[in-house]
Subunit: 210 residues, 2 copies
């Protein structure tokens, strides 16, 4: 096993600190070999039974992108209609979607009952399959941050509608729709915290004891 | 933003490669300050709306540990009874549980509807809350690997029964039961692959195009 130095540890913690949910992108594309390498690294993520249930989809077709953008707009309007006053304003100002600027759109889907892995470890907790895909997304996100590439996870969409827009195997489950590109601004503090939406809670950093 | 060097990138990829699901532990404990630091780092994980839904529970009570071990044994026996012949033998030999040797047991639970985050981003995809906790677990796992601490995720348990054993807020959802300690052996290849259970699929490392 490689020896990880204290310097590496510091840098790793920096990476966790600077891994932001990016909403503001430059429009210049990320070179294809860089994206290919990020996908290869993402596949090093853990998966239950070694099932690798993730499916990474590059969405390049402008009509599909436009349909996803429309779905986001509709879902975002619904979310806004539930809120009132200052909250709603703040919510609208968060400008949640980097959908318009990000040069790359990547949908990540998950096979709910993969043959690979032969069912190991998911009998009593079948959700561990989807969670494996979540960890692959997180791995992609961290590896991207390390090469200066930003990732924004759009969840204000209807997953079933977006899956239909992408015209992929209907048994696949949409887990994430990612905007990917070089960030137009960088920060170590979450945008939601900078904009006064929410703060981290110190009590999360304390153990519960049993 | 810190500059991440090519050397750091190589080490990061090494970290992803060597982050194993550990099943064989030494019995000596991990120093408390190390565990505390791992928890702090885990809380740098992304969370939808900055909701930080994760709750990390240290399970030290021998009676609770024993009850969890019994639950695992029962679920593992059920899983075995579903399989036949060579598969069943291989399955049994995988020795899935480090439960007996690992000095630390850490349960990770998730609040399904946290007030923190104020519902942002989870309207159409409420599962993103649980997925935030999954990313905190993955962050813990990576940070642990970097300091030579092994983590094994036990999913062959009944999550509702284990939650009851832990006697925590019944609204919390059990996501993972982790065995934590120094690994008795290290490898860059998944144990499931070394033992012939499953292999990684090269086609996962190719984009699907839309």
């Amino acid at each position: 096993m490689p020896e990880f130095t204290p310097l590496f540890m510091d840098q790793l913690h920096d990476l966790f600190r600077w891994r932001r949910d990016v909403r503001h992108f430059r429009r210049d594309p990320v070179p294809e070999p860089v994206l290919d390498e990020l996908l290869r690294v993402a596949c090093l993520a853990p998966s239950v039974g070694l099932s690798e249930p993730w499916r990474f989809v590059r969405v390049d077709d402008p009509r599909r992108r436009d349909a996803v953008r429309q779905d986001f707009t509709r879902c975002n309007a619904d979310a806004l209609s539930d809120r009132t006053g200052a909250d709603a304003l703040r919510y609208a100002r968060l400008k949640l979607a980097g959908l318009d600027d990000a040069p790359h759109h990547i949908a990540v889907l998950s096979h709910p009952e993969p043959a690979q892995g032969r069912g190991l470890g998911r009998g009593t907790m079948p959700q561990t399959t989807t969670w494996s895909t979540v960890m692959a997304i997180h791995t992609f996100w961290l590896a991207a941050t390390a090469v200066g590439v930003g990732v924004g996870w759009v969840s204000i969409i209807d997953p079933e509608r977006v899956r239909a827009i992408l015209d992929v195997d209907p048994t696949l489950e949409l887990v994430a729709y990612l905007c990917v590109g070089y960030p137009a601004e960088v920060a170590s503090t979450p945008e939601l915290e900078r904009r006064g939406w929410e703060r981290r809670a110190p009590e999360r950093r304390e153990w519960i004891r049993r």
